[in-house]
Amino acid sequence: MALTNQRVDVPVIVDESKCLEKCHACIEVCPLDVLVKNPETGKAYMKYDECWFCLPCEKECPTNAITVQIPFLLR
């Protein structure tokens, strides 16, 4: 089956200048498990568009690198 990659505006924004390579705090607390590390940069990013905008990732980030926006469709 043919698949296409669609662009999506994602709710979880990571400030890479603040994100710590060895820290997994946001990844561990996400109920939906949507955050992963970019293997090349060691920075976290939102890989799956399945956000409940519940905020544990933002609250538990030790460097305040994360901002959660309300998903575009609800905003």
Binding site: L3, V29, L32, C54, I70, P71, L73, L74, R75
Partner: protein, 568 residues
Amino acid sequence: MTNTQHLKTDVLVVGGGTAGTMAAIKAKQANPEAEVLILEKANIRRSGAIAMGMDGVNTAVIPGNSTPEQYVREITIANDGILNQQAVYQTGKLGYEVIQELDSWGVKFQKDTYGNYDLKQVHRVGKYVLPMPEGKDLKKILARQVKKHKAKVTNRVMATRVIVKDGRAIGAVGFDVRNGDFVVIQAKAVVLCTGACGRLGLPESGYLYGTYENPTNAGDGYSMAYHAGAELTNIECFQINPLIKDYNGPACAYVASPFGAYTANAEGHRFVNCDYWSGQMMLEVWKELNSGKGPIQLKMTHLDEDTIAEIETILWSNERPSRERFHQSRGENYRTHGVEMHISEIGLCSGHSASGVWVNEKAETTIPGLYAAGDMASVPHNYMIGAFVFGRLAGTNAMEYVEGIEHLEPDTDWLAAEKERIYKPMQNPDGVPHTQVEYKLRRIVNDYLQPPKNTHKMDIALNKFINYHDTLDLMGARDPHELMRCMEVHFIRDCAEMAARASLYRKESRWGLYHYRIDYPEKNNEEWFCHVNLKKENDNMTLFKRPVEPYIVDVNLAEEYDVKVTAN
């Protein structure tokens, strides 16, 4: 090749949310020597319905304010008489101990200047609402107690089926949602605490995960209990809530109405006489919206600055703290704007209504060794305190049950078949994405199951849900994470079929909007004063009537109900 992990425990708790963490703690308290394992597909530190805490207790029966008997009367009326009063009584009787224990663990409840719990009235008669303005760390506190009690935790493993042998629950199977391992857990007893089916209907925003419930709660336990052969009940009594439009979270009237906020139509007039969420209240909301008098709103603009600031502090730090940025991004403010409200999509959740796995007052399902607690266990209007109470009952009783019981070896052919079923989407990585398969399924739920219900629409729904097995076979997953979502769509399909069949079976209207049938618009106590239960029998979904258990608290339903209607 998929790696297989074999685990063994005495009591297995599936789902580490409100009920599950309490079940594990209480099982360990009952027997510290025995092994207790929590299986959680997220991480128990922030999982379940209260991932970001809770802003209040809705069903606190505190001596001096109310009694368990009054509470049972209140819920009997709110649920139109269809309940097992003995089970509801447990929440009334044990809730106070639960609150005291949570208090001792550091959970903060609002107290007055004399140090007494500061209860508010939202229900029709009694005071049961206890604010928790500092309830944001509830889940972290529970996770700490789980660790302290030495219950084991396996995070990021999702259960797919309960293993049943010789008629009893002997474990569960699932897979690691990160590395993809097949996981087989043998247990002497299994406690299901997987929450609501919050991804049944599709939110009007169209965002699959913009649900009222934590979207990880996809009806896992409803489906697993069904396939284990357990009875489910009151499935046709849907969960439908009045929520912030688009945001789809609570506004929250339980927090704001004790301060003087109220639900109003576009002209600012009240149209519900009680903000307690019941099917009757939702019918009033539905009628108002359909009469052209909308939009409806939670009105706070008349309150003074200090009061509004206090409400903001509570609402913006607990339960759904992103409410703050939602309002701000729209340039809205409680001082100048009402909060526009809407009716949610349908779901299954006994925490708010009554749909769930049938349990008795000991949290036992109809399968020996299988217990259920929390939103997925049918104890009407049980809310968070009910989840704690039934988690506690399930943990304690499961530990008692396992004494003298031996592990049983799962059937290898059955395990192989389940493994094949789980991993099928991985064999087809370019298959239809789970997002599209789920979207279509939930849109069908909206189109044909959303009340008002009628036979023709539900016949179409049922037919589509049955045929949807073929659509599920088309799904593809590229990694274990996508596989998790695929298996959740299987759970949602099962719940949708149950919702259609149970709604077709009960040929009357009951619970206000929750089961409002155009073709049977009246309540019919002569034929339908009973539970509608269902279970899997010879691979078929069988429905039947189960008599309502004898009342232990007298309630004159006709009298109470008439008073309620005329008061509007």
